[in-house]
Symmetry: C2
Subunit: 295 residues, 2 copies
Amino acid sequence: MIDAELYRVFNTVATCGTVSAAAEALFVTQPAVSKSIRKLEELTDCRLFIRSSKGVRLSTEGQILFEYVKKGFEHLQNGEQVLKKIRNREEGLVRVGISSTLCRYYFIPHLEAFHQRYPGIRITIVNRTSPETLKLLEGGLIDFGIISIPKKRSPFVYRELLTIRDVFVAGRDFPGLQGPVPLQALGQYPLMMLEKDNVTRQYIDAYLTENGAMLQPDIEIGSLDFLVEFARIGLGVALVIRNFIDDELRFGLLREIEVTPAPPPRQIGIVMPANLPLSVAAKAFIDALCPQVRP
Amino acid sequence: MIDAELYRVFNTVATCGTVSAAAEALFVTQPAVSKSIRKLEELTDCRLFIRSSKGVRLSTEGQILFEYVKKGFEHLQNGEQVLKKIRNREEGLVRVGISSTLCRYYFIPHLEAFHQRYPGIRITIVNRTSPETLKLLEGGLIDFGIISIPKKRSPFVYRELLTIRDVFVAGRDFPGLQGPVPLQALGQYPLMMLEKDNVTRQYIDAYLTENGAMLQPDIEIGSLDFLVEFARIGLGVALVIRNFIDDELRFGLLREIEVTPAPPPRQIGIVMPANLPLSVAAKAFIDALCPQVRP
DNA sequence: ATCATGATATAACCTTGGGTTATGGTATAA
DNA sequence: TTATACCATAACCCAAGGTTATATCATGAT
C-alpha cells in the first residue's frame, strides 16, 4: 500500500482547494505539499489534480479517489477523537466484580463519587462471590474485583483498601453477655451468621475451629442486612462486620459483644490482573478508590 | 492529526497479531515496527497493545481504536484498488459529444471496437449539434466532442480524424446531369439538403453564396438517412457526405453528380479542453480513435 | 499597458526521524 | 535444560521529506 501520509496530504489538499492552504493546515511549507502530491501522482500513475493559478481542483480520477480517502480519514479522525476522550476520561467503561455485601456497605458511596466525577464513564457491576469474581477476572470479563482476604500467590495483584473487624452484636435489650466474655459463652444463645459459601463465614469458621469453639449458627442467611435486622429485634447474637454497623451502634440499636479472643481483623482490597495494563477508566476508578502513588 | 503511517503500522500489527509478522508484511524490520507502535502509544498517551512472549494483543483502548482504524484503511485500500483498475482501464467512464449523423455513419464501428477492447469502461454518448457540444465541453459535461470544421481560436484543442467531402447525388435513373456540370445547373432540379441549423448545411450555404449560386433546397430534413433514401427513389438531387455513401455508390443505387467548383473538402475531428488533463478512460478512447503519438 | 498579487513549480541544500544491525530478556515447548 | 520465538533496547546511518530561494504563470487593479 502507498504511504498513508501521502493520502493524508491528498485529503487535505482536496479539502482545502489550494496547495498553500493545505500546507498551512499541515504545518509544512507549500513546496513540501507540492512534492507530496506529485509523488502520489507518480505512484498511482494518475493525474489527480488540475492546477491553475487560482488553486487546484480534483481531476476525474482524483474525485473518485477522494471519495474513498475522505471516508477513510473520517474514520481515522473519529478514532483519534474517541481515544482522546477516553484518555481524558470523558468516555469509557469500567467493569467491577464485587460481592453484594461489599457493594451495599462499602462500595456505593465510592461509586456515586466516581460517577459524579466522571459522568461519561459507564460502570458495570457484577455481583458474585469472591471465587467467582476471581474467575471472571481470569476470563477478562471484569477489570478488577473487590474482595476480602485474597489468597496470596496467584496471577493477580492486590491492593488493600480497608481493614475490617468481625464482631458479635445483639439487640439493645438482649439479656446477658455484658463485658468481655469467652467465645464459648456464645453457645448458650441463638447464633446468626452468613451462609456457608460466604468467604466471611469461612473465615469465621476457621477462627472458631482454631479456638476450639464448635459453635453452629441457629440461623444462616445470605445477606448481612438480615443479620443486622434480626439482631435488632432481639432474635439472637449475630456475627457482622463492625465497619458496616456504625450507625446502629451510635444510635444504640445494637450493642457489641466483646469476646475473647476477638476475631482477627482482615482486609478488603482490590484484585486485578498482574502484568496486564488496566484500561484508562479502570485506572481512574482504582485511583479514586485509593489515591496512593504507584511506582 | 497523528502521522497516518503510524496508524497503518498499528493496523497491520493488530491484524497480524505479532510485531514480527507485521514487520514482514510492511517490508521493514521488527525493531522498526516496535518503535512505531511505541511512538503511537506515546502520542496517544494510551497503552494500545499487551505484549507477551507469544505476540501482542490489543488492550481495551487498542480495541476501540482498531475498530475505527480498520474501517479507515479499508476505505483507503478500496480507493487504491479502484484507482488501479481505472489506471488499467478495467473501469471508467467516457462521455462523448457527437452529432447523430457522425454517430450513425462514422462513430459506431469505433464505439464497438472500443467497447470490445475495454469492456469495463462505460460510455455515455450525448447527441447534440456542434455548438451545443462545445457548450457541454465548456461545462465539463463531456470529455470530448467529435464535430466537423471546428472554429479556430477558442479554449479548446483539436485533432483531425477524417477528411470528408460533400457531394451531390441522385438516384440511378435520375435524368440529365451527366458529367461535370456548373453549380447553377442544379437550380433546374429538386434539391434536398439538411436543415438550416446543421453545421454541414451552414458550410454548404457559405460555399453556395461564395460561388454566386442562390440555390434553395426543395426539401430540408434533419437526417442524412432520409436524404440518401429520397435520392435513391428519385425525388431529386441530394447533398450528402461522400464518405458515408460508399455502399450506395458501389452498388449503383446512387450516382455522384460532379459539379464545378466542387465543395471544398473539410475535416471532422476531436475537440477537447485545452490544458485540462483527460481522464484515463477518455485518453484511451481518443488513442483508439487516432493512435498517433503526442508530444 | 503595466504592475501587484497570489498561486504552483523547480532546484539546491539540509536535517531529522525512520530504518538497520546487534544484542538482551523472557516466556513457552521440547 | 536447551531451544525457540517473540519483543525491547541501543547505537548508528542515511535517504526521504522538509526548507529556503526563486521562477513562472494567470488574474485583476491601476
